[in-house]
């Protein structure tokens, strides 16, 4: 059992959720309430990581964050080391790849809030910020929680993108999913089996939590 890898995956999951949720909420809100041309295009763009092979995402990230790219060079100047093959690079990749997992449940939850409720809030003199805080956030909470759970679980399981931009460096980019792959190649079946079981249990727990939240949301309607 590779505890460092598990710790790294958990840290990656927590950071991804913390960084992604605020951005995803604003994006979800824009998509749920905004009336603008090209909304379908933006929605498709957000959903892209769901259907693209991870190797395609990894390939583009490698080029977008790599040494030759402006983003890669800027980060290297800032951090003193390249963005690819570093934990920071994994966090950035993870935030991008998880966009649909966070945005879609939130967008659905926000869209489900009746227009009359939002109109009433505005009529009662709530500022847009207060309306978000007192109406939208509480009502969309199950969707937000589902987005967080799915993002966290998906981060633990991400393999292809991490393999391409991470490089399996212990304590830096070797996540638990990569550690399982490495252990199998090292003929260490017991360790691979333990880690696979840990991921299985976590995935089942995540689905259980998100289903419970969805049911609770449905009951409230």
């Amino acid at each position: 059992m590779d505890w460092t890898a598990l710790g790294l995956s958990l840290r990656l999951g927590v950071l991804t959720v913390a960084l992604l949720l605020p951005v995803a909420f604003l994006l979800a809100r824009w998509l749920a309430y905004g009336r603008f041309r090209g909304r379908g295009f933006v929605e498709a763009l957000v959903a892209l990581p769901l259907i693209l092979p991870p190797t395609v995402v990894g390939f583009y990230l490698l080029h977008a964050f790599g040494r030759g790219s402006p983003i890669g060079a800027a980060f290297e100047g800032l951090l003193g080391h390249p963005l690819v093959f570093s934990f920071e690079g994994l966090v950035l990749a993870s935030v991008l790849v998880n966009l649909p997992f966070a945005v879609q449940p939130m967008q659905n939850a926000l869209a489900a809030i009746p227009t009359s409720v939002r109109d009433a809030a505005r009529c009662c003199g709530l500022s847009p910020l207060a309306a978000i805080r007192r109406i939208e956030l509480p009502l969309a909470l199950p969707g937000i929680a589902t987005g967080a759970v799915l993002t966290f679980a998906h981060t633990l399981g991400e393999f292809g993108v991490v393999l391409m931009v991470g490089g399996s460096i212990p304590g830096e980019t070797r996540t638990i999913a990569i550690a399982i792959y490495d252990r199998v190649q090292a003929f260490d079946e017991p360790a691979a089996a333990t880690m696979a079981l840990v991921l299985l249990v976590m995935a089942v727990a995540a689905l259980g939590i998100s289903n419970t939240l969805a049911r609770r949301a449905a009951r409230r309607d």
Binding site: T4, G7, V14, P82, V84, F85, I169, P170, E172, D182
Partner: protein
């Protein structure tokens, strides 16, 4: 609920962050044929010097590409010297490194396989001819030196074309060995160092393939530009008789001079 969640997140973060604050240890990349031999050397290195090393095993070609792209490896143990020279030419290494071993390949067959290993792959040739051959695993010759050696040996024996429909490619030689050892392939042409490691020895049989059938697998290591003093120490340690003895025990031939 918000507060509990926040607290939980904070605890998780603190717990995992504390772990990474431990003393930095050099990060090295090693060809996967070294999987078992190097682990043993690193254990010895740690008890002798107190320095823990973080090692990643994989295919030499992939590591060379990653080092070019800025991967933070301090020492690179390649299974092939051409990758080291290519990096040296691009000024990514300190020098042209040092030869540390010469590798050999074997045909490994798992217990219960219908294939019998022999040095010149005669049984394999017969099974290919009568159409009864199953899958044979090798490492990807495009970027894995052991895969390239396997391909050369099969070429020398005139079997490469006939084997095409039966070949399965591992990402590196360790994965190819795993395909064979798990019984999912009839056999595999893999590193001798893996076939005689305790993890594989009991899972099947092997025959050493004559090294006249392929170009020598000259394994070279090199310190990269970002090598720390600890990595330099390991580099020196790998050239001591103690390390050489461990490598020899795993079937590596000592490089001349």
């Amino acid at each position: 609920m918000h507060r509990t969640l926040a607290l939980l997140a904070a605890c998780l973060f603190a717990a995992t962050a504390a772990e990474s604050a431990a003393q930095p240890s050099p990060v090295i990349a090693a060809a996967s044929d070294l999987q078992f031999a190097l682990d043993e050397i690193l254990t010895q290195f740690k008890s002798d010097t107190g320095v823990a090393v973080r090692v990643t095993y994989g295919s030499s070609g992939n590591f060379a590409r990653q080092i070019e792209q800025g991967a933070p490896f301090e020492l690179f143990l390649s299974a092939d010297e051409s990758f080291v020279f290519a990096l040296a030419e691009r000024k990514l290494t300190r020098d042209r490194g040092a030869l540390y071993a010469v590798g050999r390949i074997v045909l490994f067959t798992p217990a219960g396989s219908p294939l019998t290993p022999d040095p010149r792959l005669e049984h394999l040739a017969r099974r290919l001819a009568d159409g009864s051959s199953g899958r044979i695993a090798i490492a990807n010759p495009e970027h894995a030196p052991y895969g390239r050696a396997a391909q050369q040996a099969l070429h020398s024996l005139g079997l490469w074309a006939a084997l095409q429909p039966h070949v399965v490619l591992g990402e590196n030689v360790s994965q190819a060995a795993q395909f064979a050892a798990s019984g999912n392939a009839d056999g595999g042409i893999v590193a001798y160092s893996l076939a005689i490691a305790p993890a594989l020895r009991d899972r099947g049989r092997y025959a050493l393939i004559p090294d006249s059938l392929h170009e020598p697998i000259r394994q070279r290591m090199v310190l990269t530009r970002q090598a720390s003093p600890e990595a330099v120490r390991l580099y020196e340690y790998l050239r001591t008789p103690a390390s050489r003895a461990i490598l020899a025990r795993y079937g590596f031939v000592a490089p001349e001079a």
